[in-house]
């Protein structure tokens, strides 16, 4: 008579669920992400797995559920498997990125229209927004660009991870995410107000204003340096906009 080890009888049984990877059925643990389930099923990622942290957009996955006409998407590294889901990976989708010399652009709507004339093929079907795994209002930023509002497009598209699923579903064949990237670049370089205080500070540094202070720090022995560091005046976490340090000699 064999004695079953204690831990095996009390261990929680891993619940297995069936999923279909590119049409083939696999039983995988119900708690896994799609990415881990694919690896559990025996596949090895050579490309298309990316950061495994939900920010790079390399592991876009398209799936459907039984009895539901909707197309679902998610990042494989972030989305937990669901029973009976049919899935495929979409690590890349061809979308043309226009070549441009950024230094020659100035941030006008006409520049975007010239570089991406297909922008005006959008019919507001909204398939792009529906498929976005980051819940970016893709159609809305395209609408903003059609009316020349680069700033709005940059803000609306801020969470884009460039996975390309929008482009895969577009009936107007737009490379939305490349257009949005151009919008964000133009917005950052030409349309956002310049931080003037930063330029003043850089000029001060260039003029050598902080050189004596740095030289003083460099000349300190370790103990003095440590004490100086530890006793420095810090901006409290709750400080308001009007907070200033006691020692204003460096401002």
């Amino acid at each position: 008579m064999s004695i079953v080890p204690q831990e095996e009888t009390t261990a929680t049984e891993t619940k297995m669920v069936p999923i279909y990877i590119m049409g083939k059925r696999y039983e995988v643990p119900a708690t896994l992400t799609i990415m881990k389930a694919i690896e559990y099923a025996g596949y090895k990622y050579i490309r298309g797995c990316g950061c495994r942290g939900g920010v790079c957009g390399a592991c876009s996955t398209v799936y459907r559920k039984p009895g539901d006409y909707k197309i679902y998407t998610g990042l494989a590294c972030q989305t937990v498997v669901e029973p009976e889901m049919y899935l495929t990976q979409m690590p890349f989708y061809p979308a043309n990125r226009t070549t441009y010399d950024f230094g020659e652009l100035t941030g006008t709507p006409d520049e975007i229209n010239r570089l991406y004339p297909e922008l005006f093929r959008c019919v507001a079907c909204n398939a792009c927004t529906k498929v976005c795994p980051m819940d970016v209002q893709v159609m809305d930023y395209i609408a903003a660009l059609k009316r020349g509002d680069i700033q709005a497009a940059a803000e609306i598209s801020f969470d884009c991870i460039q996975c390309g699923l929008c482009a895969s579903r577009c009936m107007g064949e737009l490379p939305q995410y490349h257009i949005a990237q151009l919008a964000r670049r133009l917005n950052g370089a030409y349309l956002t107000p310049k931080a003037e205080h930063l330029q003043t500070m850089c000029a001060n540094i260039d003029a050598g204003r902080y050189d004596p202070g740095l030289a003083e720090l460099k000349g300190m022995d370790l103990e003095t340096l440590r004490n100086t560091y530890q006793s420095r005046e810090m901006e409290p976490a709750s400080a308001g906009e009007d907070w200033t340090p006691q020692d204003k000699s460096h401002l």
């Binding site: 019919v123 507001a124 079907c125 809305d140 609408a143 059609k146 009316r147 509002d149």
Partner: protein, 293 residues
């Protein structure tokens, strides 16, 4: 009075003078135009193909946005946007089968049944504000200025969405009269400017636009007022080509109707963005002492 406002794409760029002047006038009249927070291009042209429902989706989506913003009326300035939105609305109101197809397709939006009222600023002024009220705000009447009202197509056709009768419209006549202008009636007022034919057949478009302008001037007009950025493009931006091509062609200042309204209401001239007009437009206003400097 608060009302939902749908600007349209061109009014944010090349046709911004139409928007800025109109919004300034609305301010004078106590009309609070609330631009929709979310809106997309209406498509600019209403598709005439019977089964081309995908091009109805964009304007219907905009009408849904009007409802979502808590309004049951929406005002437009661009007559092409007006036409596209109003016709899509008509379809959603009256064609049960297509309404269902479109609502089923837009499954992420609430169903829409055509219950928003689409207005153009002109019929809104006529029917909801009244010419008398507008007149009260006129501080610099356009006296002695001979202006031809140009309606074009999209405000008057088809009948279901027309803001006035197509053969003998009056609304812009009354509008210009209210501003104190001398209204010049002319047959070309309801002719087509050539619209998008400018892309496929630019010569033909130039010809019809030229015919309209010479018709206006031969009836004594010294300027033309219009409501549409595309008409403006064909008749104002392309006028230099007419002057070059057609013997006897004359320079005609072109205005958006709201620019003239702003001037008559004494609104600062900067709101009119005349830098987007022909130079002759400002010169004429100066010669009438309506704009100084």
């Amino acid at each position: 009075m608060k009302i939902a406002y749908y600007p349209g794409c061109t009014l944010k760029t090349k046709g911004k003078s139409l928007e800025t002047s109109a919004l300034a006038c609305m301010g004078q009249l106590g009309i609070e135009a609330e631009e929709l927070e979310r809106w997309n291009c209406c498509g600019a042209v209403y598709s005439l193909a019977d089964d081309d429902l995908i091009h109805i989706v964009a304007p219907v989506r905009d009408l849904i946005r009007v409802k979502q913003a808590g309004h049951d009326k929406v005002i437009t300035l661009c007559s092409m946007c007006y036409n596209t939105l109003a016709r899509a609305n008509e379809l959603m109101r009256h064609d049960e089968e297509k309404r269902k197809t479109i609502n089923d397709f837009m499954d992420e939006e609430p169903d829409y049944t055509g219950d928003v009222q689409v207005l153009h600023f002109l019929d809104f002024l006529r029917d909801e504000i009244g010419w008398d009220k507008v007149k009260e705000k006129v501080t610099k009447p356009l006296s002695g200025m001979k202006v031809a009202p140009y309606y074009g197509c999209t405000l008057l056709r088809p009948k279901e969405v027309a803001i006035d009768r197509a053969d003998q419209p009056e609304v812009m006549h009354s509008f210009l009269e209210t501003l104190g202008a001398e209204v010049v009636d002319f047959p070309g007022a309801i002719q087509c400017c050539g619209t998008y034919q400018v892309l496929g057949n630019p010569d033909a478009a130039l010809k019809v636009s030229h015919d309209i302008l010479s018709d206006a001037t031969s009836h004594g007009a010294e300027a033309l007022a219009l409501t549409c950025p595309l008409c403006d493009y064909n008749m104002s931006k392309r006028q230099d080509q007419m002057l070059q091509k057609y013997e006897g062609a004359r320079e005609v200042p072109i205005y958006y109707f709201t620019q003239l309204m702003a001037i008559a209401m004494g609104i600062p001239v900067e709101e009119c963005h005349f830098e987007l007009n022909r130079e002759s437009s400002v010169q004429l206003l100066k010669s009438k002492n309506l704009v100084t400097g």
